[in-house]
């Protein structure tokens, strides 16, 4: 019984040795750049905060209350994100780590929840926008001719507008709110992917393995999915990672202009907007959430840059020798 399992494991190892090598190489490439690692750490932190925000907040609160009850800590912070209180516009303190806003709400708690909103923003927009972009890009690139012309012209029309202007126009006409902001952002973001994918498809299409697949009898759809798509995907991953920052910032801009998230939804951009009236004395209101937004964008940018190198096969080939050298082969 045990031997059978060992056999299967050995066969699995044999079959996937090359793949494992590639992944090891990718990790090695990634590890080399401290900025990429920093970026991935930041992104990791933000994702955890975004997904588990509320629980983390109550977890922190619970821990501190526990310590307080044992006299180790003198006061308990308050994480009231939505309840109005009388502690209006108080500077950062032990009780309110990021201070309070003009309704007495804790800015730290609101920022944590704001991260969640930002993540949802980017996820929804990219999950909806990218597939549209991929499908249209594949069709336009592979079939060419009239189909390509139509798709490309429509894409061009969308791209002719500056992203923010178009987003503003769409979300304003749909009525202010988070949902309309997301629809606006999806509409603004998919054309970029069509361009990207179409360009990649045009060059991949010329490779002889595509013609060989046709000679074997593969239909167009199979060729597109099995041969073209895997070979055009890597720039997409990098582009998407970098785009997260872009989406979030544009969404924040929309909120900033009053078109995105509406009160009382905590959205980092909205909070910055609300705090503008109180600058520069009550600086914590706008600047701290703004800084978090900055870190969010920075983290994804660094991660995207790091991925760009990692996913480039030529770069990996060069590293192959370095890695082997380090391992003493």
């Amino acid at each position: 019984m045990l031997r059978a399992i060992k056999e299967r494991y050995k066969r699995w190892r044999f079959r996937n040795a090359a793949k494992i090598e590639e992944y090891k190489l990718m990790f090695y490439a990634f590890r080399r750049s401290p900025l990429s690692v920093a970026g991935s750490v930041m992104v990791g932190v933000f994702i955890i905060l975004g997904v588990f925000g509320p629980w983390i907040l109550s977890g922190i609160q619970g821990t501190i209350m526990f310590l307080h009850s044992h006299g180790l800590v003198h006061a308990v912070p308050s994480f009231n994100a939505f309840d109005w209180s009388s502690e209006v516009l108080e500077p950062p303190s032990w009780r309110h780590w990021f201070g309070t806003d003009d309704y007495g709400r804790d800015i730290f708690a609101r920022s944590m929840l704001g991260i969640q909103v930002s993540l949802i923003y980017s996820l929804v927009v990219l999950v909806a926008g990218i597939p549209i972009g991929i499908v249209l890009g594949l069709i336009a690139g592979y079939y060419g001719g009239a189909v390509d012309e139509i798709i490309s012209r429509i894409t061009d029309m969308f791209l002719a507008f500056p992203a923010l202007v178009l987003a503003m126009a769409i979300s304003a006409s749909l009525g202010a709110g988070l949902k309309s902001a997301m629809i606006a952002l999806i509409a603004v973001w998919w054309p970029g992917y069509v361009r990207l994918i179409r360009g990649q498809v045009l060059s991949v299409k010329e490779n002889l393995y595509v013609e060989a697949a046709r000679a074997v009898g593969m239909g167009d759809l199979s060729i597109i999915i099995k041969h073209i798509l895997p070979n055009v995907i890597s720039p997409l991953i990098i582009y998407a990672t970098l785009d997260v920052a872009g989406v979030v910032l544009t969404g924040a801009n929309l909120s900033f202009l009053g078109l995105g998230a509406q009160p009382p939804t905590p959205e980092l951009g909205r909070i910055v907007f609300d705090g503008l009236d109180y600058l520069p004395e009550k600086w914590w209101y706008s600047l701290i959430p703004g800084f978090i937004l900055f870190l969010f964008a920075l983290g994804f940018n660094l991660l995207g840059d790091g991925l760009r190198d990692v996913l480039d096969p030529r770069f990996r080939r060069r590293l192959e020798f370095e890695m082997r050298g380090e391992r003493g082969e």
Partner: protein
């Protein structure tokens, strides 16, 4: 001998577009007719722009013709549909020139070779063993199964391409300059392997190349193409012994031979064609070779000579030989 492939008056024009209007046509293949017999290697020779690559792709129905037909085992290739078409695709395969872009860089060798089997939904008991047997047939080993293309040299990649072509047990293969990108010593290995495979598996080959020495080594019969037309077609030995068409003569006299004394003699007799190859968009009237031919007559300039039989199985398109 049994005919496997019959090409009849095949024509392929590629439109030249300026914006949306077609301003002209590239006469890539301009009325070609010939036969390929079962079990032989048919060589197709010509310089760049003569249409040999297009012809190879037409025969395999990788592109649609402007007019004309190709009969494979009696059936019209361009009218095949559904199961019949899939059957044709199983029986006819192609090996391309460039070993570097012929393999999907994201797939492992096993998947590359096994893919045709999956596409045709053929049931194979032990896929891994089957692919290993194919690899061994082309001189590779089991340990190459789960590697990526970039780990292999040009010669090895070409072997993988051939292994893949054999996966469906074809009876016919188009070899489009299979060794042009390879070194001399590797080329010899691949050519010998192709010859052995032909003997062992009874394959029929269409061998396309611009390298006359290679074509002569490989083919039993051959055709010379110029500007989309066949100018001479016969048994390889006969053509090499005494080429009839002036273009063929010039082509042969231009090949440098690795023998200094022979080379000197050749130099004295060398006929170098005047000028450049004309554009296939506006081929010259009459015989297409007449602007460069030292024997051109008025008839050559106005009337196009038909590909006529001058001896058993020997056809030439030239007014010097056409009777009548």
């Amino acid at each position: 001998m049994e005919t496997l492939i019959k090409v009849e008056r095949l024509v392929k024009y590629f439109p030249v577009k300026k914006l949306f209007w077609t301003v002209g046509n590239v006469h890539a293949v301009d009325g070609v007719s010939f036969e390929i017999f079962k079990g032989e290697t048919f060589g197709l020779v010509g310089e760049s722009g003569c249409g040999k690559t297009t012809l190879g792709r037409l025969i395999l129905r990788l592109i649609e013709p402007t007019s004309g037909s190709v009969y494979f085992d009696g059936k019209d290739v361009f009218k095949l549909k559904g199961k019949e078409l899939m059957r044709f695709r199983r029986q006819a395969q192609i090996v391309f020139q460039d070993p570097f872009s012929s393999l999907d860089p994201r797939m492992m060798i096993f998947d590359i070779i096994y893919e045709p089997v999956k596409v045709h939904k053929i049931n194979i008991e032990d896929p891994e063993a089957y692919v290993v047997s194919l690899l061994e047939r082309v001189g590779l080993k089991r340990e190459h199964l789960y590697r990526y293309p970039h780990e292999f040299s040009g010669g090895q990649r070409q072997r993988i391409v051939i292994a893949r072509a054999l996966a469906l047990n074809p009876i016919f293969m188009v070899l489009d300059e299979p060794t042009s990108a390879l070194d001399v010593s590797v080329q010899a290995q691949i050519l010998n392997m192709l010859k052995d495979l032909q003997k062992d598996l009874g394959l029929t080959y269409l061998f396309i190349s611009h390298d006359l020495s290679v074509v002569r080594y490989m083919s039993h019969r051959m055709a010379i193409m110029y500007l989309g037309k066949i100018v001479e077609i016969a048994d390889s030995e006969e053509i090499f012994e005494k080429p009839l068409h002036p273009y063929t003569q010039m082509l042969f006299s231009a090949i440098p031979v690795p023998d200094p004394e022979l080379a000197k003699r050749k130099l004295e007799e060398r006929l170098i064609p005047k000028g450049e190859v004309p554009s296939p968009i506006n081929p010259p009237p009459g015989c297409r070779f007449h602007p460069r031919c030292p024997y051109a007559t008025d008839r050559c300039r106005s009337e196009e000579p038909p590909l006529a039989e001058v001896a058993a199985g020997y056809r030439v398109a030239c007014w010097l030989y056409a009777k009548g």
